[in-house]
């Protein structure tokens, strides 16, 4: 398999995430290195949504009152329910297993082409054929029909 730079990088991130006791979403290491700036970037995006919600709440006050009542009910239900044992820390996303299909994602193929031209692109597509198999064996197809 022709392993491209971005895949190596993603794989590295995923390996780190899986090996730690507090797993994190992939591609986060450099975000940790630049945590303040990156958090600001994400938070500002979320902030925009928050403004919209408050505006909507101002108009539909009756709906808000109902929602508040629902929240109180849910809160009571949570207090009454016995606590469950969790295997992982709260608020931490579970690391995802690396997807073999990433090799045929648009970004991965695009990067292969940008870096190595057509040869690199086709090499990666052919490598994907082996990775994403198996393909059905021709000899098994007539057998299948025979058994049906």
């Amino acid at each position: 398999m022709n392993e491209r730079r971005d895949e190596r990088w993603l794989d590295e991130q995923l390996r780190r995430a899986i090996n730690t006791t507090a797993p994190e979403f992939d591609a986060e290491r450099w975000k940790r290195d630049h945590a303040e700036a990156y958090q600001a970037l994400v938070a500002r995006g979320q902030g925009v949504k928050g403004v919209k919600v408050r505006r909507v709440q101002g108009v539909y006050w009756a709906g808000s009152a109902l929602a508040a009542a629902a929240v109180i009910l849910v809160g009571v239900a949570i207090l009454v329910t016995p606590p469950q044992v969790r295997d992982e820390p709260v608020g931490v996303e579970t690391a995802r297993a690396p997807s073999a299909a990433h090799i045929v994602s648009m970004i991965s193929l695009r990067t292969a082409y940008r870096q190595g031209g057509e040869d690199a692109l086709y090499e990666q597509l052919d490598a994907a054929l082996k990775t994403l198999g198996p393909r059905p064996d021709a000899s098994s197809t007539p057998l299948l029909f025979g058994r049906l």
Partner: protein, 389 residues
């Protein structure tokens, strides 16, 4: 009274006929009107050759070696896939159903299998040619071209794979022409078929436009996570971190404007009247012109498409197509006069790299057509050898 009865009887007869006709028409539902559905089925039943013959098969597909019994057996066992591909190629519309909302995470797994299917068709065409069935072999070449058109212009990668499939069809045609050089009727038929415009003309413009929308959507604060992942795919870790760290609404807004403008300039070059050399150089300049001190400019440079490279691929395929068409005329001359022309006949399709006629050179077993200008992307001059067997 008799007339009224007659009209009534005729009405009943017509109604019965209509009923029978309608029932008959509904008995078998029609085939899909979307070629992609049939191609997907072809891909499901298609399989690669086993490892024992993989290398020999690859050489045979590339025209480097002759067929073996194992290759014949493999191709024969794959006829169901070939049959479905043929059926699909006859359907006009083709929608691969790509979920563009996935942005750069969009998966293009069908392209790997499509390339494999195309290799099978090349192998079948070559086998037919080896057995002297030249018309069938050429039919397979046209099947490849329709497949290339169907693969189309959904994404840049689809477009490039389509070009490669089309290029394979021309390589295969060269081989068939070399074998059938004395069959003037076949060559005239091939000439007229190649003169027909493609059912679905593909161009790199649409994939670039789609990609522009994807990138513009990505360069927004609320898409921080996806932007970070995409940057991580394109840049070194440190560089990606630095850009993400400096990103804010102002920088991203400026990057969007600059990116849109840059891609539009590239598309203008692509659609303009510039020569190959001029267009290639301008596209390369637009791609490389980023200011490393400006994060917006770096973002634009990172996501700007490798348009000069794509343009190079497009011109390369055009050159091959023109060489095949010119080669047919030379073979027809040989077939009609008994000898190859001393110089290139006038009015033949030209070399798009130079905009001039191909350089023509008779060789021991045929002739060679050579471009007169360099392929700047590959740093070489292409030539096409026609071996007359």
């Amino acid at each position: 009274m008799r007339t009224r009865n007659g009209i009534r009887m005729t009405g009943v007869a017509v109604a019965l006929l209509l009923l029978v006709w309608t029932c008959g028409a509904q008995a078998i539902p029609p085939d899909p009107d979307n070629a992609a559905l049939l191609y997907y089925q072809a891909l499901l039943i298609h399989h690669e050759p086993n490892d024992a013959i993989a290398s020999t098969y690859q050489d045979f597909v590339a025209g480097k070696t002759g067929p073996t019994d194992q290759i014949r057996q493999y191709v024969a066992s794959s006829h169901a896939a070939l049959d479905y591909a043929t059926l699909a190629s006859k359907v006009q519309d083709c929608d691969w159903g790509l979920p563009y909302s996935k942005g750069f995470s969009l998966l293009l797994s069908h392209l790997s299998h499509y390339r494999s299917l195309a290799r099978l068709i090349v192998a079948d065409a070559r086998l037919e040619a080896h057995q002297g069935r030249y018309e069938t072999a050429l039919d397979r070449c046209f099947l490849l071209q329709r497949m290339a058109d169907h693969l189309g212009d959904d994404t840049l990668v689809s477009y490039l794979v389509g070009l490669a499939v089309r290029d394979q069809s021309y390589t295969c045609m060269e081989d068939v022409i070399g074998r059938a050089w004395n069959d003037a009727t076949l060559l005239r038929w091939l000439r007229s078929e190649l003169a027909n415009p493609p059912v679905r003309a593909i161009s790199p413009v649409r994939p670039f436009q789609i990609e522009r929308e994807i990138v513009m959507d990505l360069m927004r604060m609320e898409r921080g996570r996806e932007l970070a992942s995409a940057l991580g795919g394109e840049l070194e870790q440190k560089e990606a971190g630095q850009i993400a760290a400096r990103a804010n609404e102002h920088i991203l807004g400026r990057a969007r404007r600059m990116y849109s403008q840059r891609v539009q300039e590239m598309l203008d070059v692509l659609n303009g009247p510039l020569s190959y050399n001029e267009a290639y150089s301008r596209l390369k300049q637009l791609k490389d012109g980023s200011d490393p001190a400006d994060p917006a400019s770096v973002l634009v440079g990172t996501f700007a498409p490798a348009m000069s490279r794509v343009y190079g691929s497009k011109i390369r395929t055009e050159a091959h197509a023109n060489a095949v068409r010119a080669g047919i005329e030379i073979c027809l001359h040989r077939s009609e006069t008994g000898k190859l022309p001393a110089s290139l006949p006038q009015g033949l399709p030209r070399d798009p790299f130079s905009g001039e006629d191909f350089e023509y050179r008779p060789a021991d077993q045929g002739f060679v057509l050579r471009c007169r200008a360099k392929d700047l992307d590959r740093d070489l001059v292409h030539e096409y050898a026609f071996t007359l067997r």
